[in-house]
């Protein structure tokens, strides 16, 4: 789709004032839901997404059991009020595909062999959507898995890049996603330097393809620092940081 208006001004600033390689504001919080074994909330641009993890738990129906590893289930779902026009709550084809790619982006990081014959459920609920909701969802979901204490090889973090006004830019918002000419969500395991999700649409020269892909990885590393901080905040400074000195004395 061609742009109907200019998305990048003459000063090189985008509609919301960002530079071409600048991320939107991101905040992350771990462990907000009481019932879930792990949870994380992400506020990324206008995205507001809650991810919850249940498990490892018994697999139902039983015929889905995997004898050598955990079954990881995932669902990406958008609330009817998360978009401008009410969305039908039934899962759309888009949501079914995103649920699949999110699952395939997370499994490589989970040590599924440690939990044979169990199910690990990852529920991603988009309360308000903006551009890049799948990568924001993955970023929150991997924190929720870590919060649930599930053995992991690495965190998974995502960032989307794309082409707007014939220029490679980082972290597309809603307007840039809809009116721009390309979107490339990428998820990585930052310490293992492996890509776990890659989707591309738009027209990229070979050089722009590489530029956008490498930018997505570099920006993902920035988000990874925030992920670590959010985990540390819960586990090393909050109430859940283990027994206090007083309790240890009683022991």
């Amino acid at each position: 789709m061609e742009a109907k208006r200019k998305l990048i001004g003459d000063d090189g600033r985008r509609l919301d004032g960002r530079k071409w390689d600048e991320l939107r504001p991101i905040s992350l919080e771990v462990g907000l839901l009481k019932n879930a074994d792990g949870s994380a909330y992400i506020h990324w641009g206008k995205n507001k997404i809650m991810a919850a993890v249940y498990g490892p738990k018994e697999v139902h129906p039983k015929h889905q059991v995997l004898p050598d590893r955990a079954l990881l289930r995932s669902r990406y779902h958008m609330a009817p009020f998360s978009v401008d026009e009410r969305k039908n709550p039934a899962p759309s084809r888009r949501e079914i595909e995103i649920s699949k790619v999110i699952r395939e982006a997370l499994i490589p990081a989970v040590v599924v062999e440690d939990y044979p014959r169990t199910a690990i459920e990852v529920w991603v609920e988009v309360l308000q959507s903006d551009g890049g909701s799948r990568v924001a969802g993955i970023t929150a979901a991997s924190l929720a898995l870590a919060d649930a204490g599930i053995n992991m090889r690495d965190l998974v973090v995502g960032c989307s890049c794309g082409i707007v006004d014939s220029q490679v830019v980082a972290d597309l918002d809603d307007a840039e996603d809809k009116e721009g000419s390309g979107d490339m969500p990428v998820a990585i395991m930052p310490n293992l330097n492996q890509v776990t999700l890659l989707q591309v649409d738009g027209i990229y020269t070979r050089a722009d393809f590489q530029k956008a892909f490498e930018l997505a990885i570099a920006k993902g590393m920035e988000v990874y620092a925030m992920q670590r901080e959010a985990l540390a905040k819960k586990f090393f400074t909050g109430e859940a940081a283990g027994p206090t000195e007083e309790e240890e004395v009683v022991e």
């Binding site: 084809r93 079914i96 790619v101 499994i107």
Partner: protein, 270 residues
Amino acid sequence: MSMKKNYVVEIIRKAQMVELLAKGKRLDERTPDQHRPITIQTGVIQKANGSAIVTLGNTEVIAGVKIATGTPFPDTPDKGLLVVNAEILPLASPYAEPGPPSEDAIELARVVDRGIRESEMVDLKKLCIVEGKTVYTVFVDVNIMNVDGNLFDATSYAVVSALRTSKMKKYAVENDKVVMKDQEIPVPVERTPVSVTLARIGDTLVVDPNSEEEGAMDMRITITTDDDGNVCASQKGEASTISPEHVLEAADTAIKVGNEIRAQIVEATK
């Protein structure tokens, strides 16, 4: 679709494949960047506006195009509709079942649709008859007839071949009315996108995996390129990873192999 069953035989098969791939060989004697033979037959369904049967090795698919008129989407009043859909028929494989489309079938249809749409293969503006009121609606439906791996590419080639050979009724606006003319015109095809799927088996990327290779693969990546060597769409699949270096290698292979296949599609649909 990959029919991963994790049988011991598959684990042995995979070990054998990895060993051969280290020497640059595959079980069916192809080189890593060699695709299976492709056959393209167009105009096979007379009642469709265009159609194609494509075989890629033993994988066989049939695409049919049906074109009608309808109202455009409110946000694109000057563009026609183009929808690609794919279904894995129960007659295509012992693992396929009738019923609502599986997650795999939805992904297949969406990835193929993305390649056609994002490459701007069809000029949707030329499918507009009266802005905001009447546009051509082009539906491309693909039936998978026989599964032997790499449905993504076979489906894409069938859609492209069918669209390139489709004819549609001409419409004219006379006295504020849309009138069908007794004349057929081709679909406004501007570009020829080509999808190339690679599987990573161990440390090697192979082009166009067959069923056996899909059973042993760690992951796959589909990359669609256009006539000018641009990347238009991509999708990584399966629950494993790919290194950044492999992604760039896959893009270069997709451009190179895509050029060869494009020449064959263009020749078969002249």
